[in-house]
Amino acid sequence: MEIIFYLSIILSAIASVISIINNIHIFQLNYYRTDTQLSWLMKNKCLLVFNAFAFLLGIFSIKLWYSPIILLIVIFLFYIKKNYKKETKKPLVYTARVKRLLVTTFIIVLALYSLIFITSTLDVLVIACVFAFSPVIILIANLINQPIEKAVQRYYINDAKKILKSHSSLIIIGITGSYGKTSMKYYLTTILNGKFNTLMTPESYNTPMGIVKTIRTELKPTHQIFVCEMGAKWVNDIKEICDIVHPHHGIITSIGEQHLESFGSLENIVKTKLELADALPENAVLLMNGNSDAIINNLPQRKYELYGTQQADKSDSFSYTAFDIKASRSGMSFSIKSEKEVAENLSAKLLGEHNAINLVGAVAMAMKMGMTIDEIRPQLRKIKGVPHRLQLLDKGDITFIDDAYNSNPNGCKAALDTLALFDDYKVLVTPGMVELGGMQDELNEQFGRQAAKVCDYVILVGEKQAVPIKKGLYEENFPAKQIFVASSIHSALSHINVIKTDKRKIVLLENDLPDNY
């Protein structure tokens, strides 16, 4: 009996550690926000089955003594087997914060285990509960660490502010928007690099701490321009960033339904994006995407200029307009009309209408920074597609359009429009869209209907996510034998080779969910 008792303690400890690390991983993806983490847990109740069983057995143990312990051990073993070294796409990063969180968590866990030796009636309950409540324990640990985390963040923020202050000649360009800000950041930086030493926030760093880290570790005295991507999931996020970096100029790439769930309403999204406009000094350049209806309907009080692609009724008010846009497998060519000049025959190895819009915006800002069209032209050709954003990839006998990052209704439609331009055998690989609140199923169904008109074959990833898209496909009479539901993105990609066709395959990889879905 004693051996079994100690075995249960050890297995409880192992299962708890795995559970703690997995939960911290999700917590990190949820930006360490308790409310987001809780709603994630509510949404993924099925993952808590083990915890619930363990808790119940713990309760029974008060009455039934040791008999539930065998079942507990079985549950621990199952949990360990299922979750040990789980494959993840964006692994947990052991930052200083995570380490601090782990320390506090383990102190709590050890304190709880020590109860085993104090009480003899509730020992099994403790063994069960440490594991059962591990998702909550990390949140408590986070709460305890809160003052330390705040102080650490304040120190870093002040340090970054000090660095920026000492770099008085640095021009800071803030970029925000629901979609397209990362692309805009890459395009603008590539163009500006033709003339200026330009630093940008790397990859998809766009949170205050990500920006602070960029300033503290990458900004050099030789930099002349800092291109700063500003991301937002909640009201006030952009203001918070602007209070740190104080941008001199700004670009708003779009306003749409991205992160609708956390913002609550479209009004809040508009308000948050326009926080950038409010933060700019009076004589600043503020460029906004005139093709975005939400922007046109919510123009700010201050001075601004619009950019975009030519449209029958709207583009008259644009200061920078792209026209004569042509697309091919080698990319796109276009012309830009500004108040001063018309620049013809610009080209970039990119696809998609939204990329044309982003390019005009980037060219407009570069011109505002004093670059001539002749200086801009060669830089445009150097622009590479941002990985996973309508990126054209040639892999042997298959062409990929990799659009795996952060899909949304407009983006999905644009990607399908781009796919439609090709003559090849068109395959769509997608798990559908997420983070769209109550509209999610409806929008995925609509996506299915749109896909049916364009694609020759559709591979859906994940049973749960596939249901509404399938429904949309069937509504448009898409043949069932040209649909395949894969369990993972890996098996979906393997399935591409199985598809039989005489034509060359072009595969649109649309949306690729992070591990918290």
Partner: protein, 391 residues
Amino acid sequence: MKIRVGVFFGGKSVEHEVSVISAVQAMKNLNEEKYDIIPIYITKKGEFFTNAVMREIKAFEDVDLLLQKSQRVTFINYENKVVMTKYPAKKLGKNDISYIDVALPVTHGTNVEDGALQGYFKSLGLPFAGCDVLSSAIGMDKYVSKVLLRNGGFPVVDGYRYSFVNYKNPENVVNDIEKKLEYPIIIKPVNLGSSIGISKVNTKEELEVALEDAFSYASAIIAEPCVANLREINCSVLGDIEFAEASECEEPLNASDILNFHDKYEDGGKSSKAGMASLKRKIPANISDELRENIRKTAVESFKYLNCNGVARIDFLLNNHTQEFYINEFNTIPGSLSFYLWDKIGMKYNALLDRMIELALKRFRQESEITFSFDTNILSNAGLGSKGSKL
């Protein structure tokens, strides 16, 4: 936040002392509002030392004493920044002295002007002023630059190269030279600057002595015909392959037909602190406007042709009767950085240095065109079979 400029000078080179003079001048003229100046002295053994007092020429009166009081350093690229750190490292306390944002090599001669030091900067990932590895190397080798320039249609005099392997039998070399060229003949080491080991010979005996002398400095030499009615005209170029401009032309004046090391530097002497600038010279050179423009144009075009960067001085040989001129050699890090030639057309030394640093950063930027790499790449991991792995 000033730009931290590491000024490198000295080095394993016969022009070590001249470099010290040039560097001290440059440090005096760098704009302190913009730059933090970090002197980095390279000893004749190739060690790096730093000490704030190295900005004064006085400090070099007793080099051994200076080195005792200075910190030996080494450089490391850490998170995309170049750190100057103490060597050997102290067990306790801070070892990093400063970051270096850009290097300004003010070094002359082999090992430091020929691409070797430049290659070190490149491996470090440190932007540096002046010519890149290849153009430095081409500029240093008089035979290679001659061949390339001729190929590009630029005027150069004929030249024959003999290596130490040929010279194992000196008589053959002498006979071969006599067969190919008529006296007077110029003999020079293939890769030295500052006129070291260069002789003009009129007889076989003089040729033998000249070869002996030249081979004592280098492993290969060039023999070339002497331009008749010789005048030397030098012109400096500033810029890069996209845009470059020429300075005023100068005519170095001296008693003998050819500048030797003694004339070129030692007359100026350390004490005068003026280096090249104090040499007997005529600025602007007394030549016709047409010739001046032709020389300046040729200088700019050849500078771009060899993909030079920053400031270089191109030395021409002029036949004063026919007015024909030839490119004699490239100095990719000219003495005193040729500031005195720029001063004459209204560009101050500090502006010249600003431009060189801008150009250094521009080249670095162009070379490190952003490559986007994301930490996740599901396509490369996916089971696409053998075809997918061809990437």
